[in-house]
């Protein structure tokens, strides 16, 4: 326990410095516009008061995030591997993948609402699209840049098909795939706010959006802080998984 604290001492110190700096700029010196930049003196009570609502929002946000992100990982990785390994397919699809990934997902909202019968499905769709393209792109890049010598060793051992996929291609491409998944996870959080703008009645993104409409920026900042904390926690979990899967790269 003491060791964990010691290891994270730097993180805690920087956190305290950031909050203190913000506090000086707002509540103490009033350098920043107090209407937009609510100081800790206002944000902290707002945060405590809304904890119930934020926790409820956390649960309902996860109901959007988890299926959307899981689907993005499964489809992004499997399609990425398939397209990456089949050279003619890759050659013909690459320009379309590039084009599609350049479309800002936020602009797809009206289309998603029109196409899907429920707001829930439309919201999942938007988060999915935001996460899918970076994962697909990273998987493709990872598969294409696999060291040729690994594939040659697989060939001399006649490792083919499913075996080759799971024991050679995926592990070899895993470092790149994981970095794509981590970018996608952050995108998913950003898009949560967008997807909860319509239809949702609770959620972390909804919370921020709702109070923003009423210009209650103390609540908005409290929501931001909560979301950021959740993201940090989720990323820590993600890194744990990554560390196990990529133990062989051995540089921590």
């Amino acid at each position: 326990m003491t060791r964990t604290i010691a290891r994270h001492a730097g993180v805690v110190a920087i956190g305290i410095a950031l909050v203190a700096g913000y506090w000086l700029l707002t509540d103490v010196w009033r350098v920043l516009d107090p209407f937009l930049f609510a100081g800790p003196a206002k944000v902290y009570p707002a945060f405590v008061r809304s904890l119930d609502k934020l926790a409820e929002g956390f649960v309902s946000s996860l109901k959007l995030l988890v299926p959307a992100y899981a689907l993005a990982v499964v489809l992004g990785v499997s399609l990425g591997v398939a397209i990456g390994l089949l050279v003619p397919l890759r050659r013909n699809l690459t320009p379309y993948i590039t084009a599609a990934s350049a479309v800002p997902v936020t602009l797809i909202t009206p289309f998603a609402i029109h196409v899907f019968s429920t707001f829930y499905a439309a919201s999942v769709c938007i988060i999915f699209l935001g996460a899918f393209w970076p994962i697909l792109g990273a998987t493709l890049a990872g598969v294409v840049t696999i060291d040729k010598r690994y594939l040659e060793t697989a060939a001399t051992l006649e490792i083919r098909g499913v075996e080759k996929m799971f024991r050679v291609v995926l592990p070899a491409a895993a470092p790149t795939i994981f970095s794509g998944c981590s970018i996608a996870l952050k995108f998913a959080f950003i898009l949560l706010t967008v997807s909860e703008m319509f239809g949702a009645t609770s959620g972390m993104g909804y919370f921020v959006q709702y109070y923003s409409d009423f210009a209650r920026f103390d609540m908005v900042i409290a929501g931001f802080v909560f979301m950021a904390a959740v993201l940090v926690g989720v990323m820590a979990l993600f890194d744990l998984v990554k560390k196990r899967a990529l133990a062989w790269t051995l540089n921590s």
Partner: protein, 266 residues
């Protein structure tokens, strides 16, 4: 334990010729060392034998049949990168064993892998280590253990000891010789090296590959009763004569190449 015929094989990368008309007949069970300077195409020759490249012209026959691609009948040991770094050393071996002997149970595969690790003088606890946790010498031992575990009739080794220190290299040379000699049906081994002493120690058949484009410029086949121990080797006047002869051939080639490039425009 299969005969190999290389029949007038040429190979080019784009329009850059690497090998020009290499012909070589090797009897089953021979230990062929291919000597040559870096860049002469000796690794390319090995890749052609392994089926990782296709000859531009000519053909390679194994036991009378042309090589169609890479396969389990020709085991390969590379200088490095032979093992998958994301798999434990033991899994690297059992995966290969499973490919060659699909009928074996998991326990039998593991037993076989452990036996082969013992053959190359590695402890059983190496089985659970990742290749990155092993030294270069231990990794090469694992690669050799894997190659012998799948028991291919032909073994192709591409400067497998070039990156190792002198002591480890000497140990592994003897180990490979031992493994090769104690088999009833000896494997046919192609061993690429740039070290004349290594070739003299290991080979039953030494070929020197000349440069631009590569072809065999010298060959020496040892008599069947060749003694292979390091101490005797350097005391044998015939060996010393042969060593000088091989070095002379390689040096003459270097002088010739220099003259050829010196004559060109500056």
């Amino acid at each position: 334990m299969l005969a190999v015929t290389i029949d007038n094989v040429s190979f080019s990368y784009g329009d850059k010729p690497i090998l020009g008309g290499v012909s070589l007949d090797v009897e089953a069970g021979a230990f062929v060392c291919v000597l040559g300077q870096s860049g002469c195409g000796k690794s390319t020759l090995l890749r052609l034998l392994g089926g990782l490249e296709k000859p531009t012209s000519g053909r390679i026959l194994v036991d009378g049949r042309p090589v169609a691609g890479p396969g389990l009948d020709r085991g390969m040991v590379f200088q490095d990168y032979g093992l998958f770094p994301w798999m434990r050393a033991g899994d690297n071996i059992t995966l290969a064993v499973k490919q060659q002997f699909p009928a074996l149970s998991a326990a039998e595969r593991k037993a076989k892998a452990l036996r082969r690790l013992a053959d190359v003088e590695l402890d059983a606890d190496c089985y659970d280590k990742l290749p990155g946790e092993l030294s270069g010498g231990m990794r090469q031992r694992c690669a050799i253990a894997r190659a012998f575990a799948i028991d291919p009739p032909i073994l192709l080794m591409d400067e497998p000891f070039a990156a190792l220190d002198a002591v480890t290299r000497a140990r592994l040379q003897e180990l490979v010789l031992d493994l090769w000699q104690k088999e009833e049906q000896r494997k046919t081994i192609f061993f690429v090296t740039h070290d004349v002493d290594e070739a003299l120690l290991l080979a039953t058949d030494v070929c020197i590959l000349g440069q631009s484009p590569g072809s065999i410029i010298h060959r020496h086949v040892f008599p069947r009763d060749k003694r292979t121990d390091r101490a005797a080797m350097f005391a044998d006047p015939e060996m010393l004569r042969l060593r000088n002869e091989l070095i002379a051939v390689i040096n003459a080639e270097i002088v010739q190449l220099k003259a050829a490039s010196g004559a060109g425009p500056r």
